[in-house]
Amino acid sequence: MNWIYEPWPWYIAGPLIALVMFVLLLVGKQFGMSSNLRTACAAMGGGKSANFFRFDWKAERWNLIVVLGAVIGGFIASNYMSNNTVAINPEIAQQLSEDYQIKSAGDNYLPPEIFATEMLSDPFIIAVLLIGGLLVGFGARYAGGCTSGHAISGLSNLQMPSLIAVIGFFIGGLVMIHLIFPLIF
């Protein structure tokens, strides 16, 4: 039963993600994990403020159900199927420890230096989390999709716009990690 607790290798995870996409296609839907944010904005009355949220969100309720499932999946996996540690490339772990005093690689799933609940008393950490989320939400809707909608669904359908978006994802990510992290952390 070790395989349940061990991290799942990429050649298991990748095909299972493709399977999720195909199951959704077979029930007439498209795999994309950021559309639900728009649905949620519309459900909370966003239509009063912008046309973008004036649509039949009830027809998109299905993606909120997928989200609920993902929450339950995260609960099951972390509580019953994992020891909640992630071992990364030792050189990167060393670099994280030296440059940013993030010494938890190998011991935690997320770095407590950023994600521990106590850290929420630090305004800088709140800003990192809030701005990070804001950029993700804004960028995903501006680009018309996120990692699942473009990098998996769109590229599987050989869409040029998705390739441009994925190149954008990586430009943004590389700039953040290599140019902005050294300035802010």
């Binding site: 990429w10 050649y11 995870a13 990748g14 299972l16 993600i17 999720v20 996409m21 296609l25 029930v27 007439g28 728009r38 904005c41 912008a50 046309n51 973008f52 997928v66 499932g69 929450v71 339950i72 999946g73 995260g74 099951i76 972390s78 199927m81 994992s82 992630v86 490339n89 799933y109 770095p111 990192v128 989390l129 809030l130 701005i131 989320g133 804001l134 950029l135 993700v136 804004f138 960028g139 995903a140 809707r141 501006y142 680009a143 018309g144 996120c146 990692t147 699942s148 998996i152 040029m160 716009p161 978006a165 954008g168 994802f169 943004g172 990510g173 700039v175 953040m176 990690i177 992290f181």
Partner: protein, 137 residues
Amino acid sequence: MRYITYLVVGIFFGIVMFKSEAASWFRIYEMFYFGSFHMYGIIGSALVLGVIGVQIIKRKNIKPLDGSKMSLNPKNKGFSRYMYGGIIFGLGWALSGACPGPMYVLAGAGYVSILVVIFGALLGTFLYGLIKDKLPH
């Protein structure tokens, strides 16, 4: 019955995201340092199977189970929105270490702080809706 399907797909997706460590901040950081093949292997292998499967669906004209149309619509042509939106998304992906799927998985795993990220993502989506017409698309 349909909702049970969506719920089960979501649960399965959540477990895969968590167990493959794609929901881990450390893996995202490592990916942007090209420190491991892991994340590239996940996306790459999903993609290879995805491309093959979509081709099969198109050539054999496979329909969804209820006989409706496959949701394989081509994306609108363009450059600006994909490039600028993509870059903004990437900045946030690296800063928070989470993209939209994993955010919910991490909430389920009990990380209270991720709720701030999810709140930010909702705010960002709302902000886009407000100023959408002023942006180059």
